[in-house]
Subunit: 211 residues, 2 copies
Amino acid sequence: MKQIRRLQEHARGHRTDLDSVLDAASVGTLATVVDGQPWVVPMLYARDGDRVILHGSTGAGALRHVAAGSPAAFCVTLLDGIVVADTLFDSTANYRSAVVRGHLTVIDPGEAAYALNLMSDSLIPGRSSEVRSSTKKELAATLTMALPITPDGWTVKVRDAPPELPDDAADSGGWAGVVPLRTVAGDPIPAPWIGTDVEPPESVYRLVKGS
Amino acid sequence: MKQIRRLQEHARGHRTDLDSVLDAASVGTLATVVDGQPWVVPMLYARDGDRVILHGSTGAGALRHVAAGSPAAFCVTLLDGIVVADTLFDSTANYRSAVVRGHLTVIDPGEAAYALNLMSDSLIPGRSSEVRSSTKKELAATLTMALPITPDGWTVKVRDAPPELPDDAADSGGWAGVVPLRTVAGDPIPAPWIGTDVEPPESVYRLVKGS
């Protein structure tokens, strides 16, 4: 029984496992160390091959600190279900999580437009082809960073299983199972100045249909 | 225009803002510092008045490190919508996030059963009244910790607004707005050994209906 328990929640070692977790979410938590203290901030991100692209405002002081080469850890978590077991002890969650560790680098201004397109298309697939390119002024106001994915610099943990069978048969008899959770998109809400005759673009339709 | 921009994404200073963000989620990212490096792990949690209760297995080595009094930061993020603006630069997300900073303490064994009930009821409201209490053996295998919420030890940031109006009128004309996101529960999936005649408990029905 205990062996089964240990098998159900475990580390995944294939790089494709990491990519699938990173590609399934849009927001993660960036952590670094500032004056010996842990410092965290939620950030939008996108994976670009062997690196994670993050971006924020150049006005964010602590982001500059991170960008200056401090060690960083970036954590992404997807809550996939609530595991209802026979006991409180065995009740838990099904989830996928990834941590990428390394040193952030600031993306070269020459590459920043590419990175910003990638970020936008990760959040709203296809959006970069519907609007104009970013201007130099916009790119200058964006701090775009990259966290390299190195062979030893990441971990993935997944729990995707029914509840444990109770250790004591006296605990069984009731219902046990999983309540799956998923994120869905609702009807698009036009900005207050948008007339009712203006149709949402293809990218927005895809976002709603794909959820 | 820039003043409006700064107003749309901002810190919230009322303690009720913090409580509403913490009470709306079940999983967060715990960060600490180990050997000068940032260390992060996703954790289930529940708020209990002026503290955040977290729990994990006593087998998790780094958790013990945190429990031993290291400084910690706990970050919760809810992604509420995708903000589709006229430009890539202004495209972003609506979200709620909270960070609680402090030093974790291990919860006294005498209080651990109370904390575990609270954790379970936060994940599955009402579940603790449907099953037996946790045994001494189960409580001994659970590391339950508390992160106190102090007046200066937290920050909340929220973006809940339509896209920015473009700085340049030439950029406007297309659709702009928000695609709202929410988490929904699907049909409960019984564990493989549960007969089709076994009805899910009230707590599971509430979980599915309430989502």
